[in-house]
């Protein structure tokens, strides 16, 4: 749709006079241009203002202004540029300080003498003995690699599910690097990864990493990874010497709720097996943006009244709620990521294109139902 038509539609839907148009439209245009138009799941030709007009148009007239104010004042949109920035920050600002601290403590350096530690051979060896694995395709491993020229490409891999020959290859490459760093054959015990960093883009509940099961046990990606790593029969086990290994779960963005869940589950799961386990997030999403307890009544009414239960599938059911009004596990986020809206956000934001209530930033179904 042409911009001008979309704007006309928006003005008509909201019943604005020229004064409201002059006050509101410049900001909406700026937001669209700066961020919202880049949402990757808009259908071809669709842009934010058209989507907003259609979204508001499906609501009763007396609720449209409240819905509009929610979008203006509460919506959090993480753009591609912001995500790129967080990816670029992850190693230098979050992982590297861990490595520096460990080298300092193990080798008697003052932790405050950063240049000295960073210049030490021990640090370069340890940096190489750190393995970076993606937890999903959101980990943006390509960008992570390009952003960190200090790291070797052979210590960064796009998935945490490693085949036998990949494990062998990682160890072989590690040994080759260490030969250069040691100036000869490295000690056998050095040819192990001493830290494993698990990378992912966003977590709202943390359930996909540590998924609670009805029987009280846990599933999820990190749980499975843990089971393999600690299993002497699994090829993955050969990567590390568990007693000397640190695990870092590194998220580019995460809610406080997710971090709390990850920290407690990581402690329960890893502490008996590895040296230490840390959970880090570059961008913390604070609790107070959650709409479950903090929303105004007008927004609660909207969330409750405009919901199509057809979107509630078995995956959402795992979150432990009876509906998806406040998203997966009742996270109640007003949050959109530039490539897809997380299902932990309120359904009014992400509800599918073909649902009776269409979301403002419709989500792509990750798990397609067979016809």
């Amino acid at each position: 749709m042409k911009d001008i038509l979309a704007e006309e539609l928006l003005v008509r839907v909201l019943g604005w006079n020229r004064v409201r148009v002059a006050e509101e439209l410049p900001a909406i245009q700026a937001l669209s241009l700066y961020k919202y138009d880049e949402y990757q799941q808009f259908s071809p030709g669709m842009r934010f203002i058209e989507s907003l007009a259609r979204w508001l148009g499906q609501l009763p007239e007396d609720r449209r202004d409240a819905a509009y104010r929610f979008v203006r004042n509460k919506l959090v949109f993480c753009s591609a540029a912001e995500m790129r920035h967080w990816v670029e920050m992850a190693y230098p600002d979050f992982i590297r300080p861990h490595l520096l601290r460990r080298v300092a403590s193990e080798n008697g350096y003052s932790a405050l003498h950063i240049p000295r530690i960073a210049a030490a051979k021990e640090f370069h060896v340890y940096q190489r003995q750190t393995l970076f694995l993606g937890l999903s395709d959101g980990a943006r491993i390509d960008l992570f690699r390009r952003s960190n020229p200090d790291l070797n490409h052979e210590q960064i891999w796009q998935t945490h599910e490693l085949a036998d020959d990949r494990v062998q290859e990682l160890l072989t490459n590690l040994k080759e690097s260490l030969v250069l760093q040691f100036g000869g054959e490295p000690p056998q015990e050095a040819v192990r990864f001493r830290t494993i960093v698990l990378l992912d883009d966003f977590s709202a509940s943390g359930h996909s990493y540590y998924m609670p099961k009805p029987d009280g046990t846990f599933g999820g990606k990190i749980t499975k990874f843990h089971h393999k790593l600690v299993d002497p029969a699994d090829p993955l086990h050969r990567l590390v010497d568990l007693r000397d290994t640190e695990i870092i779960v590194m998220l580019y963005a995460a809610t406080e709720q997710a971090l709390e869940h990850l920290a407690s589950q990581s402690q329960a799961l890893w502490n008996d097996h590895v040296k230490a386990c840390y959970v880090e997030a570059v961008q913390l999403v604070p609790k107070d943006i959650c709409l479950l307890n903090n929303a105004e009544n007008s927004i609660r009414d909207l969330i409750d009244a405009h919901y199509d239960h057809a979107i509630f599938d078995k995956h959402l059911e795992k979150g432990g709620t009876g509906d998806a009004k406040y998203g997966y596990a009742g996270c109640g986020l007003p949050l959109v990521l530039h490539h897809n809206t997380p299902n932990n956000s309120i359904a009014l934001l992400w509800s599918y294109e073909d649902a009776k209530v269409r979301g403002l930033f419709p989500r792509i179904k990750r798990h397609k139902e067979l016809p």
Binding site: W16, N17, R18, A22, P26
Partner: protein
């Protein structure tokens, strides 16, 4: 580049990345600021408040802009600009005639002041950086001027020897442009590397230069391309000098003056760079070592009608650049400029009746004003005119009653001819203002008043016009007429005025103190304006101090007797630097000379004051000092309207 939706929001010249758009937006009328004989000679400071238009003026003389203009001889929108530049000698039939070299001086020079080395070495680094950047800017501009590739074609450029000043180490003159480029780029790299290094600065190894040798180096006859001088005149334009530290700025200006280079130099800076003494002395500076500074707002103060004419044309040009579905035409017709029409009839009829009732009551049956009242009652015109006539009559009656000398025949009827004589346009303007205040009619509307509210500053005007234009382009979306009603214009101006008022403490040095002072000036003006007799009709919009008192503030002589006057000097300097007060020195009236301090016109809106220049009420220095801490309070004896 996508056409901007609201081109009034492109406030800064730097944000317009396209030379054609820049030229289309440039209003040639502002070139009247430049003296055709002396504009490209010797050293000339160019000063204004932020947004006065300095950078746009500088950018106009850069080679790429002049070439773009020269290449469009048939473009109707650019013809006047082309002619004006031809009249100045900046353009000729063969192309640009002046090599304009623009250099932004805000880039990190101030950080040098923090280096832990002695002042002499700091200055060496400062000159070193400035020299290489001037050299590089000149080389780049020379290539652009001759439309050659930079830096590939620099071997065609030659640089002559320096006379009377030694070349810095490593530079062997005469040389080619390529050699000079390599030397400058290496030197810049070396200096930056030294500054960026984490290692302690070693005094002995610090790079730098002792003086600005680059100025005599880039004299017009010394820079040749293919053996011929690159241009008959070179104009070096140093912008953002106010971003240097005070010491750097003084050193730079003094050195440029001392060098007496044949290259013309413009030093563009905001008023805020000046010290209190310099700021208060501005406008009356004579006998300086450099050409008289070009002070933009003070120039427009003397020619404010020109300014207001130019900004309307600036607005027209901006509208033509707007991205719109339909042609929008000119700026002026968007702003309804009268309160005539049926929607106002009832309100004015009501106002006229109310004032008439007051007038009748005030006359309480005496025959003195009977003729005046009958004449006003008999007037056949619109209800607005009637309301104005009654309100004007009320003012004149108040004046008559307030006369100091009463005659023996005070009770005699005053002839109606006397009413006609006394009821002039000023009384009518006062009546309009009073009616607006009493009955809530819009006052700040119409293109003429909007231009006045720009307060001699282009950025301020663009901000206001941008608010108005946003409303205009919003109208079609809401299926409303493009024209803005007076109420809406008034509302927008009130909002803008409040914004300016609220920003003062954060935006301006001595902001809180200054706002207290401005409030006192404004409240005093308001009290004086709205007295029933409307003295100095239609009203005063500022105050004044004697020129002798101003001199005492500059010399500091008065600080001994009135210590608080030192604060007043700082506050006044800050207000003048930011165009919150508009100074007019040497104003002759009442047998004395005065420094008039007009409020920024937008502040007049905040305090419901009229917008004319020329009317003020002087106050002694002591009172002005008191206003720093104590708000103005109206005398109890005086009866105020409000």
């Amino acid at each position: 580049m996508k056409d901007p939706r609201n081109p009034f929001r492109l406030r800064q010249s730097e944000s317009i990345d396209n030379d054609i758009v820049f030229l289309n937006l440039f209003e040639p009328g502002v070139l009247e600021l430049l003296n055709p004989q002396t504009w490209c000679q010797s050293v000339r400071p160019i000063r204004s408040a932020a947004g006065g238009g300095k950078t746009s003026l500088l950018r106009l003389f850069t080679p790429s802009v002049l070439h773009t203009l020269y290449a469009r001889p048939n473009d109707e929108r650019l013809k006047e600009l082309t002619q004006r530049l031809r009249d100045l000698g900046a353009l000729s039939d063969d192309g640009p005639d002046v090599l304009g070299v623009m250099l932004l001086c805000g880039r990190n020079y101030a950080l040098l002041q923090d280096l832990d080395i002695d002042e002499a070495r700091r200055n060496r680094i400062f000159f070193g950086l400035l020299n290489v950047r001037i050299v590089l800017a000149v080389l780049r501009a020379a290539m652009s001027f001759r439309q050659l590739r930079y830096p590939t074609d620099l071997q065609r450029l030659s640089v002559a020897e320096l006379s009377g000043i030694a070349a810095p180490p490593g530079l062997h003159l005469p040389c080619t442009g390529e050699d000079l480029y390599k030397w400058a780029a290496d030197s810049e790299g070396r200096i930056c590397q030294t500054l960026d290094s984490f290692a302690p600065l070693q005094d002995v190894s610090l790079p730098g230069h002792d003086t600005l040798f680059s100025l005599p180096l880039v004299r017009p006859e010394a820079i040749c391309i293919d053996g011929k001088p690159v241009a008959a005149r070179i104009l070096l334009m140093l912008d953002d000098i106010h971003k240097l530290t005070k010491a750097q700025r003084s050193l730079l200006v003094e050195t440029i003056i001392e060098l007496r280079s044949s290259t013309a130099v413009w030093i563009a800076e905001r008023f805020e760079a000046l010290s209190t003494e310099e700021m208060l002395a501005e406008g009356a500076s004579e006998g300086r070592e450099y050409e008289q500074a070009l002070l933009i707002e003070p120039y427009w103060r003397k020619h404010y009608k020109s300014f207001e004419r130019h900004v309307v044309r600036i607005a027209d040009r901006r509208i033509q650049e707007a991205h719109s579905e339909h042609p929008l035409g000119d700026f002026r017709p968007f702003l309804r400029d009268s309160l005539d029409g049926p929607q106002w009839e009832d309100r004015f009829r009501h106002a006229a009746a109310m004032v008439q009732e007051r007038v009748d009551k005030s006359a309480h049956g005496s025959k003195t004003f009977q003729g005046w009242i009958e004449a006003t009652r008999g007037q056949r015109s619109t209800s607005r005119d009637q309301a104005l006539a009654w309100r004007g009559l009320e003012i004149l009656m108040a004046r008559h009653k307030n006369r100091r000398q009463r005659s023996l025949f005070d009770d005699d009827a005053i002839p109606t001819e006397e009413l006609q004589r006394q009821r002039d346009s000023s009384v009518e303007q006062a009546a309009e203002l009073f009616l607006a205040q009493e009955f809530g009619f819009p006052y700040y509307f119409g293109a003429d008043r909007l231009c006045r509210l720009g307060s001699l500053n282009i950025q301020q005007f663009l901000g206001l016009a941008g608010d108005v234009f946003e409303d205009v382009i919003s109208a079609p979306l809401a299926k409303e007429a493009l024209e803005l009603s007076p109420e809406r214009q008034h509302e927008l101006m009130k909002k803008a005025a409040k914004r300016l008022w609220d920003e003062i403490p954060n935006r301006v040095r001595h902001g809180r103190e200054l706002r207290r002072f401005l409030e006192a000036v404004a409240q005093f003006s308001k009290w004086y304006t709205y007295r029933p007799t409307a003295p100095n009709d239609p009203g005063v919009t500022g105050t004044a101090m004697r020129m002798t008192e101003r001199a005492q503030l500059i010399t500091g002589e008065v600080f001994k007797t009135i210590p608080e006057s030192r604060r007043l000097a700082d506050v006044l300097a800050s207000a003048l630097a930011h165009n919150l007060l508009i100074g007019e020195p040497d104003y002759k009236v009442k047998g004395d000379q005065w420094m008039v301090l007009y409020l920024n016109r937008l502040l007049c809106v905040h305090f419901d004051l009229p917008l004319g220049y020329g009317l003020f009420k002087e106050r002694p220095l002591k009172t002005l000092v008191e206003w720093l801490d104590r708000p103005f309070t109206a005398p109890e004896k005086e009866e105020g309207l409000l």
